[in-house]
Symmetry: C2
Subunit: 144 residues, 2 copies
DNA sequence: ATGGTAAATGCAATATTATTGCATTTACAT
DNA sequence: ATGTAAATGCAATAATATTGCATTTACCAT
């Protein structure tokens, strides 16, 4: 998961309406190479001659997060980005501090290890988020 | 790191003035059992008869994050909390979804593992954040 | 195809959170 | 004590987020 088409499937199968605004937001997320805020999304669509109320975008993003079609990330101001990961409750990102490029991944071993540590503190963890902050391959060579 | 006293040391040794507002914010962070927002901090201090301008609190928190005396966390709206961890560039939390209780920890093995995965994608990561979201020992027994 | 209906969106108002420039105050070195 | 850079306060403004309600739309049954 989740390209544009499979995201649409998720909406349909879970009984949510496939509306024009939802399709537009899905498109933007699918195309984005870095985290985007609700207002970023609005701007992008504006440029394509498509006006969406920001409230609508907020509500759509809430839904998408609920359905695991999108996530909020801490880096770059906690913006949102579509998920590429499959595993339930495991949402891991690496973010380039230079260009904002973002990759999502999932890793069960990491979750297991974190669960063990949590147990030592009496915690039972259900969701795992992580963000590695650094430089992507492109930006490593460059000098700024 | 970092109780109230050692945080004060960090400020002194790095040449930052030890002001009344900074001491107050440090106190609140040190006493907080869950992530607190800038305005949370303002309210707590208000109740103690101490008024701080919110701008000041924002600037103080910026500084504290820069000095690794505080961190921003994603859960509960990206609020801030003092750090308890030592390792450079490794900031891991577990957060109780019920009561907001938060524990910080650091773990080198996790960082190494994440670095390896990052390498496969061409990323070189410098900072690691993670949040495990679940239930603390207190809240596990309770039914809501 | 067409109409009924719940769901989704738009809009307006408002709340919350965050930032900036500049005047004033304060911690700290001398 | 006092000069000075650093820190804070204040006022204005920007950016982000939420709510209630009227209107529109997707999708179902016909």
């Amino acid at each position: 998961m989740f390209d544009f088409q499979s995201s649409i499937q998720v909406l349909r199968t879970k009984g949510y309406k496939l509306t024009r605004p939802r399709k537009r937001v899905l498109e933007v997320l699918a195309q984005a190479q870095k985290p985007v805020s609700p207002y970023d999304i609005q701007k992008v669509l504006q440029q394509r001659g498509e006006h969406l109320n920001h409230v609508t975008i907020y509500r759509i993003l809430d839904l998408f997060c609920l359905l695991n079609l999108a996530h909020k990330v801490l880096s770059f101001g906690g913006f949102v980005k579509c998920t590429l990961g499959e595993e339930e409750g495991c949402h891991r990102f690496m973010v380039c501090r230079q260009c904002g490029a973002l990759r999502e991944f999932a890793d069960k071993a990491l979750c297991d290890e974190e669960n063990e540590i949590a147990q030592d503190f009496g915690f039972r963890t259900e969701q795992h988020f992580s963000e590695g902050f650094g430089l992507c391959s492109n930006c490593q060579g460059q000098i700024f």
